[in-house]
Symmetry: C2
Subunit: 178 residues, 2 copies
DNA sequence: TGAATCATGTAATAGGTTACATGATTCT
DNA sequence: AGAATCATGTAACCTATTACATGATTCA
């Protein structure tokens, strides 16, 4: 069970907040923005089973609603989750913004304020470097490519700039609650 | 060969600009932002073969460089590509921004100015509706969820707003060249 | 001539989607 | 009792990733 998929981490993160039954997990994925991290029973149930067999989840008695076993994250599962949260974003190439946002959501449950702020700092650095590299590539092609290609690159730049703005916003919010 | 993957369309769109050998296609995918649409030989070569067998690509003699067969989009392939470009973005749920940008890049080669502008209009509408639905979900959870969840939704909103700004920018650029 | 890289692939593996199957339970 | 939906899955299929294989060609 070396590597976990984003979906696996999303499941661990969600269940780390509160134990849920498989069905409840599916509901959450189908009704919240979390659902970006797919999605269907054919993905979620096998993933939950795999995590159980890997010892990262355990069945923890009967849920409040009476039926269905609720699943909870084990100590080992929490350790995996935390390690993932502390991983630095991959430098170079593009930054996976949705993926980083998913991570960020769960940092509130597992990391200290200090660690959360450092998460933002590192994300901001990765975004800045992505911006530089995109801007460079835009300038490189400006002469020999068409309007459409340049506009597409421009779109990428705007996305990253918005993400950079978000970092500043998030830092303010986190410091406020300090 | 009913449904094509995003990668398939990316290949069609790229080869629609100019015939290339398989290797050259790979180079482009590995060195440009297009590479977001993966990527590896193990994906690209099989995909090219599939498109050939489906009659959407043909081998068109030897490339300028001497070696390797260059691939070109057939009339049928062009039709598929055009149909895809004219498809409306999926309403509801999230808008696949990178996917729409990929599409946009290719509209310059296949669609009239009028159609390109209408592409932007529809994209903008889809984005606006995504913004409304995200904003609503933010307000719905504001009271009973933590700072981190709200910030994550806020990030989504900033992304969409940046995309909306881009629509305005793109419209200006396209009208200018009119 | 040997090293690099050009050029095209295949095989093993893993993961997801769609669609279907199935038993239990609540609602009318 | 019958309909809906709760709740958990399985099976077929497809696609992508990683890693490896292979022959041809250019370059030092």
């Amino acid at each position: 069970m070396k590597t976990l998929t984003p979906l696996n981490y999303a499941l661990l993160g969600l269940l780390n907040r509160a134990p849920l039954t498989g069905y409840e997990v599916m509901q959450v994925f189908q009704t919240t923005p979390l659902g970006g991290y797919s999605s269907s029973p054919g993905a979620i149930y096998p993933a939950l089973k795999k995590l159980r067999h890997a010892g990262l989840l355990t069945v923890s008695g009967n849920g409040a609603s009476g039926r269905g076993d609720t699943l909870a994250v084990t100590a080992e599962g929490k350790a995996m989750l935390k390690a993932w949260l502390l991983e630095a974003p991959v430098e170079g190439a593009g930054v996976d913004l949705p993926g980083q946002m998913l991570k960020f959501t769960f940092t509130g449950d597992m990391l200290t304020k200090r660690q959360q702020l450092s998460f933002i700092d590192r994300l901001e650095k990765a975004i800045d470097s992505a911006i530089s590299s995109l801007a460079a590539s835009r300038d490189r092609i400006r002469s020999n490519l068409g309007t459409h290609d340049i506009l597409a690159v421009e779109a990428g730049l705007l996305q990253y700039r918005a993400a950079a703005d978000w970092c500043a916003l998030a830092r303010r919010e986190l410091s406020k609650g300090k």
